[in-house]
Every structure is written in C-alpha cells, then in structure tokens.
Symmetry: C2
Subunit: 346 residues, 2 copies
C-alpha cells in the first residue's frame, strides 16, 4: 500500500544478514534454502512487516496475476452474479480481479475499454457483453488480447465464449407450459439488441413450430419490470393468452402485477414463466416458475478459459454452454378445460 517507505527485500536481507536473493527465495517458497536460514529470514520479514511489492514483481515477471472484467453495467443480476463467480474462481487461482467499466454499449466504448485494459495491470480480460454492438463493424476485441466473452454470442470464432444455454432454457420453459396443456405460449422478449434475448426468442419460436403450433406475435420489453407491466396490460386483453414466457424474471414480475391489476388470476387463468431465477423469484405473488441460470458456473468457466490462454494451454476459440434448470413454482399450471382462459374464480 501507499506506505511512505515500504520495506523492501534489501531491508529484510540486511536484518537477516543474508542476500536479498535469499529473501526472494524464501518469499517465493523455493526449496533450496536451508531451514535455519529460512526461519531467520521469516523472522526478519515479520519484524519489519515486509510485503512484496506487486509492481516490481509484475515488472520482472511480465504478469500481474490479475484479470480484468469488462461490463456495461452492474445493474443486472446476471452481470453481477457472473462477476461474483469470476471473483470466486479467480481467488482460487490466486488472481485478482479488476473492473473495467464500459461507458456505453458501442463499439467505440468497447475499444476504449480495451485501450484502458492494455494499460491496466491485467493479464487477460473477461468481457461480459450481454448486448451486441453495431454488428456489421469489425471485431471490437483488439487482436493480441487474451479475452473470454461471457453471456454473448459472436459464435466463438474469435475468442472463447461462455454462455448459458439460452436455447435449451427457453425450450424447457416453452415445453413446460405446452406440456401443461396450453395451446400455445406467448413470449415477452428482451430488447432486440440483446443476444440472449434473441436466442431465447428464437428457441421459443422453434419449439412452437416444431410442435406445429401457432406462433403469437412477439412482444418486446426492455428487461425492466415496468416494460413487463405495460405488456401485461395488453396481454390481459388477449383472451387466447393462457401462458406467457418472459425472457427474464423482472419482466415476469411486471406481468404478474399487470395481471393482478386486471383481476386475472395466476396461474388459474394465465400461467407465467420467467428466466434467471433471481433470489426474490420464490417470493413473488405467486412464486415464479422460472429458468435458473448457473452464473457461478459461468464465472468459473470464464476464469478457467482465460487462465488457459494466459498459460498458453487452453483453446482460443470455441463456445461453452452452461445448462439451465427449470424451477417449477406456483405461477404455472394447466389451463382451463375450454382451452381458453379458465373462468375467474368466484
């Protein structure tokens, strides 16, 4: 830390009456130091409160033992939980994690962030890019960087990609509702700019098509509960709508409130399924059936992949998908006999 005059190896060496190289050897746990010497040095370190200087170490070794994590925002559950996973996994490998904020979801901003990353004390970066950027432009990830992209897409042809198996998750939600007997499933999608939103929507549609069912028009929200609420109010006026799959839990929350406000009972008259499994989902009214993402796992895999690159082992492309898990709670049930909405309970 910014102590005025940090204790250096030379200081320890002087006190212990050895060379600074021996101090270095002890500090790095090398074996070729006789036990008595080691003890002397250790005692001197203790006495002086010696702490290795990471700048000098990094300069010498050419590596920082740190990973940069690039995100647009920490406001989404997914990003935060992925970050948590990354921090935990990095700690296991004794790596530090440095945050690299990206001001805006634009190519330029990402490039700027990489410029900063290049100057920062990091050996590699994990980019949590839930949004796709002006997609025609060239790769925003500068060459020569060790990068793993989380929660994105870009087909993993340039850098490894780790992502939730969005398609399987969306399919499991859709199938769950269909298997309950619903004639079709409506979908409240995320914004078009989101890879994850696209893929959930596509998988939902694919399931309906595969089962020869009618595909209702897609309703696009922006991930917020408010957008879910707006869409819910409209959906309340669609008598044929008995099941809705929302692309995230927050929008599902908005749906629940809209249906509640319109006097529509969930799940008796409309079933709702979300995506994410936020910690509150079990406490929604009613508790929300949803698709759980394993963010911890994603974080772990990102770290492993990125450290693989740092070590020179490990692939530099390819996509890793993390499975989801359908969590069935009280917001989904079989539809009424008519196939349209169940009559409202007296």
């Amino acid at each position: 830390m910014g102590e005025r005059r940090a204790v250096s190896m030379a200081d320890v060496a002087r006190l212990a009456n050895v060379s600074s190289q021996t101090v270095s050897r002890v500090a790095n746990g090398e074996t070729s130091v006789v036990e008595s010497t080691r003890q002397t040095v250790l005692r001197a370190m203790e006495e002086l409160g010696y702490r290795p200087n990471s700048a000098a170490r990094a300069l010498k070794r050419g590596a920082f033992r740190a990973i940069g994590v690039m995100t647009f925002t920490l406001s989404t559950t997914g990003n935060v939980r992925t970050l948590e996973g990354i921090v935990a996994a990095a700690a296991v490998h004794d790596y530090a994690v440095t945050l690299i904020p990206v001001n805006a979801p634009s190519q330029d901003a990402v490039r700027g962030a990489f410029t900063r990353a290049g100057e920062l004390a990091v050996d590699a970066v994990v980019a949590i890019m839930e949004t796709h950027l002006a997609s025609d432009a060239p790769a925003p990830y500068p060459p020569g960087f060790k990068v793993v992209v989380a929660d994105s897409d870009d087909a993993g042809d340039r850098h490894p990609v780790v992502d939730t198996d969005q398609a399987a998750g969306a399919a499991s939600a859709t199938d769950h509702l269909l298997d309950l007997g619903h004639r079709t499933v409506w979908h409240v999608a995320g914004p078009e700019s989101s890879y994850a939103a696209q893929r959930r929507r596509d998988a939902w549609r694919a399931r309906l098509v595969a089962r020869g069912l009618q595909v209702p028009r897609v309703l696009h929200g922006d991930w917020t509960p408010e957008s879910g609420y707006e869409i819910g109010l409209r959906l309340a006026d669609e008598p044929s709508c008995t099941a809705v799959f929302a692309a995230n839990d927050q929008m599902a929350l908005g749906l629940l409130r809209a249906f509640h406000d319109r006097g529509l009972r969930v799940p008796e008259q409309v079933s709702v399924v979300g995506f994410d499994d936020v910690p509150e989902a079990a406490s929604y009214i009613p508790p929300l059936t949803t698709v759980r993402q394993d963010f911890e796992q994603i974080g772990r895999l990102c770290v492993e992949q990125v450290l693989g690159q740092v070590r020179g082992t490990g692939p530099t492309t390819g996509t890793t998908l993390v499975p989801t898990q359908l969590v069935v709670r009280a917001s989904s049930a079989a539809p009424g006999r008519t196939g349209a909405r169940r009559p409202r309970r007296a």
Copy 2:
C-alpha cells in the same frame, strides 16, 4: 497485456529518433516538447501500438492509481450499487478498481484480506462492511492503510466512514406511517450482526418513544424474503398490527406475500414500508413505499475520501452521512377508523 514482447518506450524512441525520455514526456503530456517532435513521437507510438506498462509506471511512481474494494458479498443490492458508484467515481479520477473478496464476516478473514490488499496493486481500500465483526477485538483495519469504510459504523474514530443516514431514514418511514394515523408501527429488523439493522431499529424505537407510543416487540429477519414471509405469517395473527416497517425491501416483499396468502389486503388492512428502494420495488404487489438509499452518492464520497487520503489532504477520520428519501407508493395508507385493522373489503 500479456503480449510476449510488449512495445516499450525504447522501441518508440528508436523509431521516432528521439530519446526515450522524450517519449516519456509525450506520453505524460508534458509541455516542454516542441509540437513537431510530439507529432513524430505520437506517430511512432501509433505505428507500434505502444502502450505504457503500468507495472513499470507503478514501480517508478510508487502508486498504482487503483483502489481496492473489500466486500463480503456481492449478493446484496446495497453492496453492488455502492460498488457501482465507486467504480463510476474512480473512473472520473482515472483510477482503476480491484475487488478484494472477504471470505467470511470474521476478524481473521478481514485481516487476511488486508494482507492480500497490501500485496495487491492498490493505493487504498474502501471496505464495504455491512456487518460488524466480533466487536470486542481490536481494529481489524491494520494501521498504515488508507481505508474508508462504507455502510458500517465503528464511529469513524479510526478511519473515515461513509454511510446512509440510517437513523433519519428509519425515522422518516416510522413517521410516515404514524402521520397516516396508525397507532403504532411494527418493525421487522435485519440480523443483529448488522450495524445498519441496529441503527434502523433503534431509530424506529426512538420515534415511537418520542411520540409516547407503545413499542411492539422487535421481529428479527435475516434480510431475505423468506424470513420476511415467516414473520409476515406471524404478524398476520396480530390484529393490532396495522403498519409494518421492514428493514429492507426484500423482507418487505416477503411480508407482502405472507399478507396476500393470509387474505390481508395491503394497504387497506396493513401498511408496509421497506428500505432500499430496489429497482423492483415499484413493481411489487402493491408497489412498495420505501426509503431510498443513495448508493451512487455513497460510492462517490468513498472515492473522494479515499483519494483525499492518498493525496495526503483530506481527513483520516470522521463520519459522513448520506441522506435518504422516502418514496411513497401504494403499500402505505391510513388505517381503518377503528384504529385496528380495517374490515376486509367485500
């Protein structure tokens, strides 16, 4: 980044046909370089893709331009949003942010984290310590560290503390309910181990006492919606309970569900007020009246304080309180005429 052979100032100097010192001057924006020389150097940098090596810089300058942020968890809204505020404020000052996880809420774990911090490339640390540690033990923050503590207490006698004005926030929630006409206010507190929980509870009690009202027994949750639900079920059996102040929004969410499950209408029969103003609070059923914390502000103040210490200006003790704002939504209303619970609506 970990490129094999990074471009150094010497490389740029060679290409631009100047000394490496001149390159350094250009890189650092010093004025004493003639424009034509500057341009030559800039072009050479561009061509080579030069990027200053932060390790060497840090070694030379004795500073990293980085702040460490210490937290137990990123699972709480407050921590994450404080972190976001810190990252944003740090970016303004061109500081990087490194995460320092603390494995457990114990003195030892904190001490370990500080040891790591000492070896890490950070100039100072912001500790987000929402929990108090075995309080009789000596200061967990080693001397000589530049530390600011957020969301805690410890009276700011050893390090600066930045915190939400918990007392004022809790008082405003309590007064709001009393001013609506409730005879008293029940309180669902957070865990005893939390400073914030203690202070909210104490302020709530103080308001009741100041107004000469009966103080109901305190119910302790653990911040989770589930604990709020359990307590809500018990509260539903208390006919005298017409107003509840929950120490956070998640527990309030649990209360709402418990009351819903017991057929108690909010706010007609029971009013509920939360604390935090999470983004979903406006979409709860009904939308939650709550006390908004200004985490961005907290983050900003933490950074300013800690950079003040780094610069040697700025105080090394003292407490800064950030005001809260009561956000009135639909979950709070006047009680029934009887002073007990309003009759359930037909």
